[in-house]
């Protein structure tokens, strides 16, 4: 084929025959494995692909998934969700955020509940809409509640830059961007000596697609090198996922432990340097960020740099924002589930106190988290 058409970029990476072919290749290779392997797909988007296309049904019994932490919203600690709620309920505030935030429950309810109580909450497709909203409502404070992994962070940075350049006086930011490599380390080698990460069952990682577009695959260099875990950076279409899994299985069969890129059409080692520059210009790492179900993960959260404090809603509204850390439910075993040391059905509150409509841990909050997926698909999996 000579000419690439847009539809090739969709259809050819979703082709049923190719998916079946890879299932066969994986089965043939997996027969040579010495022991079963567990692959963690880190990002909720991959979990979505895996569930939507029924990929576990195509894999042999000795190749398993451990579903990762899920979406960047599902892992937010309750106290930060409460921040969103409190800010939304402030007089004269328009809280703007992305659709994923709408149903996540905090202590007082979700943003959906806040809106029902009269708060001005707006869900946007692109952060840049904040500028328009601010210009149309000059008497209000527009607070952008920023969420997302590395993929979404540079867009917030562009917004910050434009707000400063265009001297827009009424846009502020509450930053909740988190990064991926640090939580990957936390799962296999926890900073917290009281947490049992030693017994984790994660053998390899399917690296996130679009986080890697921004940051480059360089962020995973340490996993094969220092932790003995192969990483294959994989695209999000079903053929991509199957090829990525096939590449991991081959590594085990051939006794290799490497960082490979399956998603070559958009990922390279360095990533989008301009995007990285933008992130570095406006944000810096927080020393600790609490992840729901996992506790504190060092250097995994971002905040606005000191010099931009005047735009930081966490500074401006310090007096009203709750700071008390809300502990995860003591019966929640998300941490163990994420490490492959337990299965959803082994959790004492699975399906009873913790269900998709009343989720407690991140594995249930995320609509494709291990527990939510098991709840929905149970006997089909």
């Amino acid at each position: 084929m000579v000419e690439l058409e847009l539809k090739n970029l969709y259809d050819d990476f979703r082709d049923g025959e190719t998916i079946k072919a890879y299932a066969k290749i994986i089965a043939e290779d997996a027969a040579k494995l010495e022991k079963p392997i567990n692959i963690m797909e880190v990002c909720g988007g991959h979990t979505h692909t895996i569930m939507k296309f029924g990929l576990p049904q195509l894999l042999p019994a000795n190749v398993n998934f451990i579903h990762g932490p899920g979406c960047p919203v599902c892992i937010m600690p309750k106290e930060r969700i409460d921040h969103a709620y409190v800010l939304a309920m402030q007089e004269g505030v328009i809280l703007v955020t992305l659709g994923d935030m709408i149903k996540v429950p905090g202590s007082n309810g979700s943003l959906q509940d806040a809106r029902a109580k009269g708060a001005d909450v707006r869900f946007v497709y692109s952060p840049m809409e904040c500028i328009k909203i601010a210009e149309e409502n000059t008497d209000k404070k527009v607070i952008f509640f920023a969420i997302g992994f590395e993929t979404t962070t540079p867009m917030t940075a562009v917004l910050v830059e434009q707000v400063i350049k265009q001297k827009i006086p009424n846009v502020f930011f509450h930053i909740n961007h988190v990064t991926v490599p640090e939580v990957m380390v936390e799962l296999i080698d926890s900073r917290d000596v009281h947490v049992d990460s030693y017994n984790n069952e994660i053998d390899a990682f399917l690296g996130p697609s679009h986080v890697s577009v921004i940051s480059g695959s360089k962020i995973y260099d340490k996993f094969p090198k220092d932790y003995g875990r192969p990483v294959v950076v994989t695209g999000f279409e079903p053929v991509d996922a199957m090829q990525g899994i096939s590449m991991i299985v081959k590594q085990f069969v051939e006794k290799r432990c490497e960082l490979e890129i399956q998603y070559k059409r958009v990922v390279n080692h360095d990533g989008n340097l301009k995007a990285q520059e933008l992130i570095g210009k406006y944000f810096e790492k927080m020393s600790l960020f609490r992840w729901r179900g996992l506790g504190n993960v060092p250097n995994s959260g971002l905040k606005l740099r000191q010099e931009f404090a005047e735009y930081d809603a966490e500074v401006l509204y310090k007096s009203v924002l709750p700071i008390a850390e809300i502990e995860d439910h003591k019966l929640c075993i998300c941490g163990d589930i994420l490490r492959g040391m337990a299965k959803p059905q082994e959790c004492t509150i699975f399906g009873t106190a913790c269900k998709p409509t009343t989720p407690i841990g991140s594995c249930m909050v995320s609509s494709e988290g291990a527990c939510a997926a098991y709840y929905k698909y149970g006997n089909l999996l």
Binding site: L6, A21, G45, L98, T151, M155, V266
Partner: protein, 99 residues
């Protein structure tokens, strides 16, 4: 992962800060501020995420991947064909063996 989709660039603004992308007949304006100047051209395939162009799609790599999949399928089909012939050969109901 983060929802991001391939689109084709059909127009670029004069100051090169914005462009128009097309996804299966649906068009939207997209922000180019995450890309270096002059990097994106009309006709390029790009990844779109929340209204921004995130990266360009390497066409050669995309074609290489698609070619790989074709080869795998051809190989599979060939294997299936061989297996079918073998099965046929060994079928006790056949009167004569295939050459």
């Amino acid at each position: 992962m983060c929802l991001s989709i391939p689109s084709k660039v059909v127009k670029i603004s004069e100051d090169e800060t914005m462009c128009t992308v097309d996804t299966m007949g649906v068009q939207r304006d997209a922000n180019l501020m995450m890309m270096e100047n002059d990097d994106v051209k009309i006709g390029d395939y790009v990844l779109l995420h929340i209204g921004f162009v995130m990266n360009k799609i390497d066409e050669e790599e995309a074609i290489a991947s698609i070619e790989t999949y074709k080869e795998i399928l051809e190989h599979m089909n060939e294997q299936d064909r061989q297996a079918a012939i073998l099965e046929d050969d060994e079928c006790p109901n056949r009167e004569t063996k295939a050459p």
